[in-house]
Symmetry: C2
Subunit: 300 residues, 2 copies
């Protein structure tokens, strides 16, 4: 997996996937210090807040780290400026096209990776000049596409010439070897880091991930709004409202702020975003331990 | 992957997945002669027809083969009798519990494998005494569950003591190595065999699989009725009817006989069952060539 470690400047070809409101500086620094690439989420942050998060990461590590930019966010242009000013080494883009930002990022020497859900978008990102794509299967937690990791990764690998990083369904060393066999040169992991000691989420949310079994997650929404999380009172109510032909505005009201509620420990009406591998997660651990366990067969 | 070749008596730990109305004796014999395990579909057959199919397979190969029994079929009891009378070496069950048939199958010396979509059912099948489970991810074609191969296989491997065979998302040697890394001891492949020279489907259906890209498939139905196939006029109409709150009877009318229509070349209103790997399939070939390509890295 050397093309990715060369690109990122990390010990391992492992990216901690951006977790909105959750991958803040303590987790990011811990993953980067352990040899992976920590990724700050910029979701919901203004310029000052993002700059502060970046500075905190730099205080805690001298290793490379990334900032995730959700391209549909209204303030993404101001966030790009911060990323450039702060000389963040790597940007990971999702939910939209980074086209208008690529020249400035390249000029600043920032590596750009894009999360992609299918071959068409992977090829488009390659043509825009991104350095690698992160092919994310729909077994992932949070916002998802339609293709699974097994369906997606080999088809993207066959379609583009830039390195492909696999995401979705990877929670241990076996998963790492599996996607390596599919042609991925690196991995991105989200759910396994949810329960890291360094995440700012309430113990109740972590416990929900730990007690989840293989069938614990469900997908709410469709198309670009599809989200995977652990079934609970929120999702029960959501499916009931769908069955009752609720208005989109009513559904929005139900889900608005729901991730924040989960983070603060409301596991009944919060959105417990997590992937299908939640069933494989058994305990809260330091991020460094999670990195080691993921990578222990790759080193061998 | 020796536990599976020992169990099946085959050269390779490779099962050709049962394809309703499609995996008839020419494909089954070709796969078995090539070192895999061909599987006859019994869907839609009466006792006489199944006995005839079995006899034809035996005329064409002296290698082991399997019969798939869909346990919700009304005549499954009479089909079990045929399988026992004909000394079929292996039975693969799907869509229901084989509980009431296990003693008779065991007495007859028939190995029994069960297709399973999650850990709970895998454990139940193990407790019933099946010899192995086939963990099938939702990237597969035809009837599917909710878990992907990456999400499902490692969790089933961790939960049961019998061998686990992985299905879903496997169309080449990379996929075989990937699921082996996840802990599977064998593989089942369906979509790649759809376009084998030996299948009785119209060239138009095969061509639809060959021209499909990664995003060509969609899932119609929910829960136990979820089916993956290539999007076409049938699925467009289906989703329109869902949006229009059509009655279940109207939907049934739309889909009844649709697989038969596809097999006879009606690619507009037929059900073109296929998995997400349809995008990786590039040509019609003999089944033996497909077996070799799947297994070429395992041999090495």
């Amino acid at each position: 997996m050397n093309s990715i470690t060369r690109l990122l400047g990390t010990k391992y070809p492992l990216i901690q996937g951006s977790l909105a409101h959750i991958s803040t500086y303590p987790l990011v620094a811990a993953v980067s210090n352990a040899g992976g690439l920590g990724t700050l989420s910029s979701t919901g942050l203004n310029s000052k807040q993002l700059a502060l998060q970046i500075q905190r990461v730099k205080e805690l590590t001298n290793q490379p780290f990334a900032v995730n930019l959700t391209l549909l966010d209204a303030n993404v242009e101001t966030l790009v400026k911060i990323v450039i000013e702060q000389k963040v080494p790597i940007v990971i883009t999702s939910a939209g096209t980074p086209k208008r930002f690529i020249p400035a990022l390249k000029t600043a020497g920032i590596k750009t990776l894009a999360v992609i859900p299918n071959v068409k978008i992977a090829k488009k990102m390659e043509s825009l000049g991104v350095d690698a794509v992160i092919a994310e299967g729909m077994e992932s937690g949070g916002h998802i596409g339609q293709l699974t990791t097994m369906g997606l990764v080999p088809q993207v690998v066959a379609a583009v010439n830039i390195p492909v990083i696999a995401a979705g369904g990877i929670a241990d060393a076996r998963g790492v070897l599996a996607v390596q066999a599919l042609g991925a040169q690196g991995i991105q992991v989200g759910t396994a880091f949810l329960v890291a000691e360094e995440t700012p989420i309430a113990p109740e949310y972590k416990q929900a991930v730990i007690t989840a079994d293989d069938m614990a997650t469900v997908v709410t929404g469709n198309g670009a709004d599809a989200v995977r999380g652990i079934a609970n009172g929120l999702t029960d109510r959501y499916f009931q409202m769908i069955a009752d032909n609720a208005w989109p505005e009513e559904l929005d009201k139900l889900t608005t702020g729901s991730l924040q509620r989960a983070i603060h420990g409301d596991v009944a009406t919060g959105s417990l975003m997590a992937g299908q591998v939640a069933g494989m997660i058994t305990k809260v651990e330091p991020a460094a331990t999670i990195v080691k366990r993921l990578m222990n067969k790759v080193e061998a």
